[in-house]
Symmetry: C3
Subunit: 359 residues, 3 copies
């Protein structure tokens, strides 16, 4: 994947020479982010290994979705709250439908039946249900209370964000400390891409810092191109945000999860796929709400558009059904991918972004 790094200078050159070629900028910056996210993940894991199991697990759990966090912060600073929300919703949905679906399908084509720890999977599925409830209520509140809600929506969003973050911390205690045995399969996650010998802490930190800076740069260019690209292509901004931008930050996880499934290591595969959704829903999203109070041009609330709340809810529902019994087969993969396809098609058919929506 390293050859994709060539798109870093390409993006920079394009930005300088042809800043109006939005589609090219969008594609180039996207391709540049892919290897950077992979390097970032690798550096995090090397660092995690150096730090020992406890801190290391924490590091993975916190920075595992750093690429997404950086893209979202770039959008936040540009005041594009709708892009941030779309990429959060898209990341939650994409990890449990696209990544998990592809993993179960790929694994299921090799192995007639695969098994994983049902208790751990259900525990994570319940975390997602909790997060979905945390998204449903502000959206419904907003509809119910209407225009008078502006004041209290902020307070409500902050409070729910703090609750979600607290539960996420307790979930880390649960999965890394008190009930780590349930998640043993997932401890292998730390070794997933680690080459031998492990990097020194200094080298890992350096790579991490460099990748962070470059992703931040590329993300700003990418985020700036979303609006014009959506307009020019006639696609809705929501489609671009939910189904294109969201895939970028998860590409590395996607590959790792599918590979693990093919190797019949379903516990690892699920911990990456569902675990990433849990992390985005209960860590990245609340952190962005809180961070927006400090850095943003305006504070971001937790009120997602109704359509995004719906697709998160439906994805979480079917994931609970599929992952709850501790076994998978290729049909389950097909079912998850079909839901993803149906959601994507529906967003694809949304009217042009330029047209105002009906009253």
């Amino acid at each position: 994947m390293n050859w994709l790094l060539i798109f870093i200078p390409v993006t920079i050159a394009l930005e300088w020479l042809a800043p109006a070629k939005h589609l090219l900028l969008f594609i180039a910056s996207s391709l540049a982010i892919l290897p950077l996210a992979a390097w970032m993940g690798q550096a995090t894991e090397h660092l995690a290994e150096r730090m020992g199991e406890g801190i290391g697990g924490l590091l993975n759990a916190t920075f595992g979705n750093a690429a997404e966090l950086i893209i979202a912060i770039a959008a936040l600073r540009a005041g594009l709250h709708d892009v941030v929300k779309a990429s959060i919703a898209g990341s939650i949905v994409g990890n449990i439908l696209l990544v998990l679906g592809a993993s179960m399908l790929a694994g299921g084509l090799r192995h007639p039946e695969q098994h994983f720890n049902a208790v751990a999977a259900r525990s994570q599925a319940t975390m997602l249900t909790l997060a979905a409830i945390g998204l449903i209520l502000p959206a419904v509140y907003n509809v119910a209370v209407g225009q008078r809600s502006s004041g209290s929506l902020g307070g409500l969003s902050i409070t729910i964000s703090v609750v979600l973050l607290a539960v996420y911390c307790l979930f880390l205690v649960f999965s890394l400390v008190t009930h780590s045995a349930l998640f043993t399969g997932t401890h292998d996650a730390e070794e997933r891409e680690v080459s031998t010998p492990p990097w020194s802490a200094g080298r890992a930190a350096l790579v991490l810092a460099a990748a962070t800076v470059m992703i931040a740069w590329m993300s700003e260019i990418l985020v700036g191109a979303i609006d014009p690209v959506a307009k020019e292509s006639g696609l809705s901004k929501a489609f671009v945000g939910v189904f294109i931008v969201a895939i970028l930050g998860n590409a590395a996880e996607h590959a790792t999860s599918v590979t693990a499934a093919i190797k019949n290591r379903m516990d690892l595969s699920l911990s990456i796929a569902i675990g990433s959704s849990v992390q985005v829903a209960l860590f990245v999203a609340p952190v962005l709400v809180l961070v927006s109070l400090v850095i943003g041009p305006a504070p971001m609330n937790l009120t997602f558009p109704a359509g995004m709340v719906l697709i998160v809810l439906l994805s979480v529902l079917i994931t609970g059904q599929v992952a709850g019994d501790g076994r998978s087969d290729w049909l389950k993969g097909v079912q998850l991918l079909a839901v993803y396809l149906i959601l994507a098609v529906t967003y694809f058919f949304l009217p042009d972004p330029g047209v105002p929506s009906s009253p």
Copy 2:
């Protein structure tokens, strides 16, 4: 049941002598369809047996709900899209609540606890969740996008229909080929009503053809009577479509499923009840959308009224809960029947069809 065949000439005579007696025509044609559907099912299974297991299973899976398909096509040709949709929703809901509920109740009164293959049941329940999602999204899309949606709703409906059909085909591969062992209990379905000795292929095909023609004829009369009967009785057209018409095509399955449950053959019972819902939701409904492009006076979309989407979703939810653990008792039957009753009562209390709905 064969004596009900007398209602074929009765219906024809009525249609000729008293075409304005809508209620009588409705009842007579309904009663005529019951034995015809049973004959059709029997012929399909004799034919399936002649064809060998693979093709036979396919035949059953495709023509098992042929009676419903014919009724729906009659309504489609008359341009009564709302009747088609009501009978689809009613058939999905009726099979998993009424047929499965009655089976679990009847079986549970004889046997304190009954068991079935939970993996197969969950796999079918997930198919239904997938289908429910395929109904929810166009309905929500329609509400969200409003009047501007007319153009893209067609495209969205066709795409989702193709996805559902593709998943159904893969489900057949799963249940008949790669994982047929999970569904062994259901293979007995082929022998369910087969008398000894089996019919010759020619005789089966002849009966199938004759029954098809007669059902088509009776269906056209039935469908034509729905609107006036609803008006005269003061019942809503939705009630008639969802809770009366939908029961007709399923009467034969109903009897077979309950009988199987009493004999403690729950795998067969579930495969008939849930299997029929899966077939209607992922085969009959999408086929009708695609067929309407060719034969209908106007193309039909997948946008069901919100109320029907809701009852399908709720039915699917509770079915997943009831069927997910591989065991049943009489209380589960009562619970499913109670939900059916609550749904029917709600539709029953809907205002007269003649009154325009509030803005």
Copy 3:
């Protein structure tokens, strides 16, 4: 807890001397109800023990939530249908989120993993799903049909109430007669607070009668104070009803359920927590609808505000997920409590009751 009985005379004195001190009246009458409800529960169980297992179980199942029933009837007689509905919704939600959550958390802190009968738990979870469907449909009907619904909403509410009551009766037959073995853990419930030796039937009946009269008195004062307290505190009436009043009648159950969980008797703990929700949803609520036809100033229907229907549905969903697998740990407790907190926070942020809601 008996020292709280001092608040009976305090409440009466306050009512006489300072009837305008609404907040004090609210607090004093609340505190007075707590020990009365505990005495009532104790008397019911002593009486139940005297009556033998069958009738005793029936008595517990019928009068287990008598305190709530009395509070609700007081509100019904005052014509405060919204308070009745809020306390029903709050009681359903509070028992499965707050009481069950606190029990699983407290038990889980002592025992790494706790087990209970999954079949019984699932059976009760399905009862709750059924009840949720019974609340969803009238609410949706009301929205769909609009102003023309006034007439038929009453009929619909009565019919659904009768169906729910019938299913509850059959559930009692199931859990006390035909499948009582599944619920053995819960039979201990009868001995849960019974001191040795058991009271005589006469003493139990006397205490029951006295407690009933006093609770009825205190409830009337409490209910009369809700509206002014909500106005003065700036909290919404829904918040007070759902999250404050509803907790009062359940305080005794709450303590018993948590204690049972700490003693690793999870079957008992679940039967109290989920069982109370089932009882409120399928017995108390329908009984109140039917009773309102006789005693109320106006008949009460089953049409709950959309927000309350939503929180009941979400609570039921996550409870099914958490209780379905027959094991619990402290994280499950945290998850349930977090959902309760999120619901409470959302209601807390609802605008002041005095402000009219937007059109």
